[in-house]
Amino acid sequence: MIYYMAAAFLIAIGIYALMLKKNMIKMVIGLSLMDSGVNLLLISLGYINGGTAPILLNGVKPQEVVDPLPQALVLTNVVIGVSVTALALSVIIRVYKHYKTLNSDKVRDMKW
């Protein structure tokens, strides 16, 4: 239960950063925190009381392990998350070169 709270808190704080921070790197930090929160949420959904890691070696029985499916999905998400972060940051670097600011309000070209 405590894990749910941690995950929901991370998601909420990520959204908070996205909503109120104008600094673009801060926004990406918020996204990254949300990412961690979602991963934690998925993993804790797959946990079974008293289960062990889903590696059937050394006499571990199938009945004893936790759900491996969320873990496989989260593994994918971790790698995708870092590539998204890198792409976003490189765009931010490019935008900074052009506008000399990280404040998203001052980047006017995309607005009407």
């Binding site: 405590i2 894990y3 709270m5 941690a6 808190f9 991370l10 704080i13 908070y16 950063a17 921070k21 104008k22 600094n23 790197i25 801060k26 990406v28 930090i29 918020g30 990254s32 925190l33 961690s36 991963n39 934690l40 993993i43 804790s44 797959g46 946990y47 289960g51 062990t52 890691a53 889903p54 590696i55 392990v65 936790v66 873990q71 989260v74 593994l75 971790v78 790698v79 998350g81 870092v82 972060t85 890198a86 940051l89 490189s90 931010i92 670097i93 900074y96 990280l102 404040n103």
Partner: protein, 82 residues
Amino acid sequence: MILTIAVAILILMMMVFAVYSVETKDLLYAVVGTMAVSLIVSILFYVLQAPDVAMAEAAIGAGISTAVFVIAIKKTERYEHD
């Protein structure tokens, strides 16, 4: 029981780090806070019997992602202005 208390302390620390990394004006510190959050999340993964994900999160979330952030901050600016 001890494990639960330890986890509760970890989560409390994680929350503090998360709030700090969002609220601080120094982006470099903020990134370090994010890294700490990632690291604690990775420990939580391990506690939740997901060693694969824990490894990935420790290496990628705490390692490479932080490096990417630091590089980006070096290319731009370190402090957040209002």
